[in-house]
Every structure is written in C-alpha cells, then in structure tokens.
Symmetry: C2
Subunit: 357 residues, 2 copies
Amino acid sequence: MVTIYDIANACGCSSSTVSKALNNYPDVSLKTKERILKKAKELGFVPNLQARALSTNKTWNIGVLFEDKSHSGLTHHFFSQVLQGVKEQAEEKGYDITFISKSLGDDKMSYLEHCNRRKIDGVVIACIEFDEPQVQDLMASDLSVVAIDYLSDKISSIMSDNVKGLYDLTKYIISLGHKDIMYVYGHDVYVTAERIRGFKKALEEEGIPFYEDMLVQSKYGEKKDNFDAVEIILKRKSMPTAIIFPDDYSAIWGINALRSHGINVPEDVSVAGFDGVEIGEMVYPRLTTIKQNTSRMGKEASLKCINMIESKTNNNTIITIGVELIVGGTCSGPRSLDEDTKLIERMKKAKANRVKK
Amino acid sequence: MVTIYDIANACGCSSSTVSKALNNYPDVSLKTKERILKKAKELGFVPNLQARALSTNKTWNIGVLFEDKSHSGLTHHFFSQVLQGVKEQAEEKGYDITFISKSLGDDKMSYLEHCNRRKIDGVVIACIEFDEPQVQDLMASDLSVVAIDYLSDKISSIMSDNVKGLYDLTKYIISLGHKDIMYVYGHDVYVTAERIRGFKKALEEEGIPFYEDMLVQSKYGEKKDNFDAVEIILKRKSMPTAIIFPDDYSAIWGINALRSHGINVPEDVSVAGFDGVEIGEMVYPRLTTIKQNTSRMGKEASLKCINMIESKTNNNTIITIGVELIVGGTCSGPRSLDEDTKLIERMKKAKANRVKK
DNA sequence: TATGTAATCGAAAACGGTTTCGTATTTTTA
DNA sequence: TAAAAATACGAAACCGTTTTCGATTACATA
C-alpha cells in the first residue's frame, strides 16, 4: 500500500507537505502541490480512512439501527423504502451507512458501545422497539440521533403527518356516504395514537358520534392479527359499511379474510389501507389508501443527521412529511338495506359451508 | 475517551501489558490480567476500532454492493430478503455491513477504491449490473468477493437451482394436462438462461416439442414490460393454456393484464411465477410459484465471504441452493374446447369495450 | 550453588495519517 | 535599504492500538 511517505520520498518533500497538498491547505505552493498530486495519482495512492479517522475523529459513517422482530428487517415493505431514502441521501453527502448490531468481532456489546467502537458520526433509528433500554441509552447519548416514527425530546424525529392521513382518509370515506366506519388500528406506538386522533377528528367534524367499538386493535402487517380483527368485527351487532386497516398489507389480509366469509369488497364493505406501498396497486380492485412519502422521509432523516453532525449541534427538531390520499377501487358507497339482507344471507351460507368442511 | 494508557496509569503497568491483557495474550499473569480487566470496566474503556484496524489491518467490515437501477434498491422484494440473510449471518460472526458507493467524504471514486479506503475485509455483491466495468474491477481485485446470482471464475457465487426450479414448475404444469405453455422470461442475465434451460428440459422430457414462440422476453418485476408481454401473447395465433412469468410480481401484473382482456386465471389460462415472495400468498387465488430460499442464500453468501476472509484464501466456489414448488390456485387443468370458444367471445367483447372507451 | 528455563513485563517501533508551530526565504512596505 | 509581512515548508507530536524483542525475575534442575 502506498502511503503519503512514499509520495514524500518520490517528491523530495516531507509527509506534512504531502498531507497538506492532498487536503488543500493554503500553505503549499501551486507548483509543489501539482507535483505531489501528479505523483500521488501516478503511484495509485489511496488514503487510509482509519488512519485519517484516528487523527480527525471523523469516520464519514452513519449508523443505522434497523431491527424488526416480528417481520424480517430489511424486507419490511414500508421501512425498506425509507431506508433506501436514507441510503441515497447519505451517499450523496459522502457518508457510508453501517448497520448497528449488538456484536463486533468476538465481543457482544450494546448498540451504543458498538457506535463508540466504530466512532460512528451519527445514527438513524427506524423500525425498532424504541422502548428497549439499549435504544433509550443510544438516544440519550451525545451522538446525533434521528428517529423515524418516534417522538422524544432527546433526538430529532421524522414522521408522516399521521393525523392528517387518517383524517383525510376518514373524511373521504364519509364523503362516499358511510357512517358506520371501523378503524382497525396497529399496535401501540406513537403513530397509532396520532392516527386514532385523525380518525376521531374527522368523525367529530362530520357530526358522527364516536363509540369505542368503532376501534379494534390489531398489529401492523400481520396476517393473523388482521384475520382475528375481522373475526371480532363479525361478532359485532351490525357489520360496518367501511373498514380502515392499519396498513396496506393488513388491508389485503383483511380483504382475504372478509372474502372467506362471503363478504365482497367494495360491494358489501369498503376497505382502505395506509402506507401506499406497491402491493396496493397490484390487487384488484386497486386499494384505496394514504400514501406516505417514504423516500422523502428517509432523505430528510439522513439530511437532518448529517446537518447535526456537521454543525456539531444536536438541535433536536420534528420534521413532518405530507401524505397523499390514493383513491382506489376498494371504497364505494355504503350498501343499501336490500343489499344488506342479501349480505346477511350470504354470510350465513358461507358459515354453513365452513362448518360442513 | 479512556484509552489503554489511562488503564495502564491506573494499574501501574505499561500499555503493552494492558493490550495483552485485553487480548488474552499468554504472557501476562492471571493476577495482573484480572486487575487490568477490572480497571478497564471500571473506567468504561471502549477500544477504538480505527486504531486497532490501523495496526491489525482488519476492520470487521464487509461491504455490500447493492444498487438496483430500475427498481429502488433496498425495496427490491427478492434481494431485500437475501440482504437480510447476509446481514443476520454477518452480525452473528461479528462483522458489520457497510454499503459500498461511489463517493466517500468529498471525493468521488470507484467501488474498488471505496473498499480500499475503508479497508473493507470482503464484499458481497447482489442486485447490480454486473457488466459495469467498475464491478468487474472489483471482482478482479484480490478482495474476497461473493456474488449472488452471477457466475465468474474470479469470485464465489451463490445461486438458486434455477434449472431445477423451472424444470419442476414446468413439469408440474404439464402434469395438469397443459401442452401449450409459454415462458415469459426476464432480462438477459445468467439466471435467465438457466431457467430457460430448465423449461426446455422439462418439455423435452415430456415429449412436447419446443418452438421459439413459446418464449417472450420481458423484464423482472416490471409492470410495463409484463403488460407488453401479454399484448404480444394475445397477438399469437392461439392463446396458450398456461403462462410462466419471470417472477411473482411480474405474474401478478400479468394476471392483471390478462384480466383487463377478459381472461380469467386459472379458468382460462393458468399462470405461475417465480421467487415465492409474500405477495404471492396475498392475491386470490394464491399464486403458484417456485420459492427461492432467500434467507439461506444471503446467509451462505456471508458465510462464504467470511470464510474466505478468515482463511485468507480466495477459493472460489459455486454454492447452489435448493428451491421449492409452491402449489397455489393459479394453475388448473387446461380449458376445454368449449371453454375456448367462450373465451374467444369474451375477449372480443372486452376488446370492443376497450375500443368504445 | 551455579545454571538453564519459564514466566512476566515494558520499551519502542509501527500502522498512516493530521496539525501545530517554528523557521527560512521571499516579497512588500516605509 | 532596512524592517515588516507574507509565503512555503518541515520537524515533531499526536491519534490509539498491536506486536516484537529484550530484560528481569522466579523457579526448577543438576
């Protein structure tokens, strides 16, 4: 490996001068600078980032904490898009992305220690159990930390406008004539509360009374939990005319569950999702949903993290990203009384069928 | 930041001894070793990986080259799963994953130089244009390189058994009674050729003559290209009774395209995909497909890369991962003559409808 | 008791850069 | 023309660790 000393020897100058020439210091003459740069290229010099980091204390590395327990991490349909945004923006700014784990070499350690060993410049956290003590420690550290979909006064946050998302969606569904709307909400995280707020706000504004049984808890993206949610809905006194699921995948599992009970979407029940991922476009009819600007979320996260790194000030802020209503074909007007009786009959038949099996 | 010198001072010994104690060298007495370890913990010592890397020349870092032009990188439904496998296995072995890009700090550079600057220990390449000169340079370097879905004598490769995949799938479709089968194949990469081989092999074995017009070129995962492929198929003299698409997403786009022509799956035409990703399970009826063991592929890639790093021998090998036939509901027996005439009428009607619009 | 051997430890060089500060030379200014 | 200022460069310390090799001490052996 060729070092700055090799260049210095070849040029008949000192390593200090070479270093300065390579880093555009003002106190090296144009003539020697050109000589050095030429020689460096000639010898195929590649600066050693470890050595540089050792003296500058900057690694051009931003760590990404991205661990989904229930799903399989990077395959997460929503967060993988966000991560792609993080990656693109980081690369544009010259930073590399390294995943933070709980081990390094032969040792096990905390996330924070991992960052410290690697001397990571900043961290982006997404798609993780934020309550975990190790994650809290990381956020409490003096690293530049940006989280996606999580709020804390210790760090910066990037979030979609979740209140508006569910507000817009509910308003739209109401505009189609629905009054008996249910919201199957995701597991207990910050954004869930926000969305419920948006749901209630829309109802209130339209003068539709809110009852607790308009809400059913489920989990984001889980097949089983959303199938279960449908079962719970079926046990209600009346079948709602519209159901909003926690996300697009859940909505599609939900549609499948409904179908298995002889309930058609949107003829019998209107259905909507949340996220706006590709799958919503692939099912027939196209899923009505709220599209989150995932790429933008990721990019803003990177940008914010890098800004904090380079300004050396952890000025924690909340950045909200706008959302967009996607009108698909899974929401139509509510079924008529006539259709309602037919539906009830069909459901009975489906039930009988299942029992027979 | 506390260093080994701080520990040395606190213990009244030299930094050498501290280093040795921390690294389990044999020439330090148990007593002093314990004293040092205790003090290290007490002071909250965190070893500096850059400094260590500078002298050991090992960074515990494996680079990942993962750039999809047509799609959006990490959101790739197939490769993101593979990458998750890479990540999990790497972490288990104590290695971190860093994405390789064409820039670092303020400079632009080649992939190879990026690796050299960071002193990456090894590289896993996936989901990229392998013909790119920069990628070829990287593979020709003396780094430990493992590629996924690409073959070269300069590197190690991980691949599904693509021949068997398409062979099994075609055999299965034939077993349902089909003879007029088409294969919409993906763009021109190694695995595509393998799959075509498998397709032909199955036909040959079953005594079904192969004609060139049983093949249509498309692209993996692209909506437009697979819609176009369906258009081409519609222009054939006869409508095939079964169509295999390049992958699951393509298959579902294809089903949508067929539906827009009044063609139902599987009643009129049987359809199959390839990959076995989650979406195949979400559509109704469930997609018949070949499941690739993505997680295993990723893990094997990591493992192979790490083995090459640690053994310091680039013993390039090809690792083939088995595949599995998933029988869904999108393939049934071929339509009867009677159904065929009905289909033709329906297609005409659909066409007239479209023209009217 | 003298000697060979094993066990412990530390000095110092090395890894590859950055950065401060002093100095010599040149240029500008009065 | 002398003094002041600007320019160009290098010596050396430093970043935090590893690792070689020599020195010292303790112990076993003859």
